[in-house]
Symmetry: C2
Subunit: 163 residues, 2 copies
Amino acid sequence: MIILGVDPGLRTSGYAVIEQRQRQLQVIDAGTFSADTELPLPGRLLQIYRDIDILLREHDINIMAIEQLYAHYKHPRTAILMGHARGMFLLAAADHNMPVDEYSATRIKKSLTGSGRAGKEQMQRSVMSQLSLARLPTPNDVADALAVAMCCINEHNRQEIIL
Amino acid sequence: MIILGVDPGLRTSGYAVIEQRQRQLQVIDAGTFSADTELPLPGRLLQIYRDIDILLREHDINIMAIEQLYAHYKHPRTAILMGHARGMFLLAAADHNMPVDEYSATRIKKSLTGSGRAGKEQMQRSVMSQLSLARLPTPNDVADALAVAMCCINEHNRQEIIL
């Protein structure tokens, strides 16, 4: 099973591609897309869309995992702009017939650390440990993409155990 | 000059294609796209994107006109979802190399009625009058798309006069 975790943003989006064979996990690709901030919004969205499209063609991904929207945002305008970028990822997934799993921030934290209130560093340490990485994952966009991908893998493994 | 006015939404999006020859205006196409609300979000976004793409192929449009984002929204989550749909329109415009003009709600109202605080019905009457329509434009999504297209046309004509 190959899972793509994504953390969409209008400036920088993080992604992480994790493969699970039996119970062995391997990060096969991870990084960020950066959109040219001097471009007007439509041009930036096109850059983001094309970058995701290339990624989805490169790997044989089974599921895209992404953070759920909250009910409340401190900065609604910024959040709506993020919504534009998030739409690019969902569109690309639909265009590739790829299912999308959404997880709340609390569920991601709980899945990785056992606590829905875990801080950023605890999350990074947990991701590092579970994926046997040599150092803490950075930048934040990649760390968040790894976390949502790991949450998706944990949830699917849990379902298999229950079944 | 052919202007496309759009009013993006996740359920229903309105569009209006207006052609200006000299100072004669003609609505050459107008209507709504409705996305299947039973589909998950990515599938709905794909429907919306494909509908816009077909529209942009049908007409030789010069500019897409769209309402600007506000600073504040009453319902941030709904607004972010609207942002996903809005992103589809901007992406389609960029993919067709089409410039996008954004206008604030106040500017649209002022351009059509002389008052930035005009109500919905006053706006509809103004659109009806300026476009010599036989009746009030409906539904709201189409009325709003006509209004933003008219605002764009008025602003461009004004610039020509100033120049």
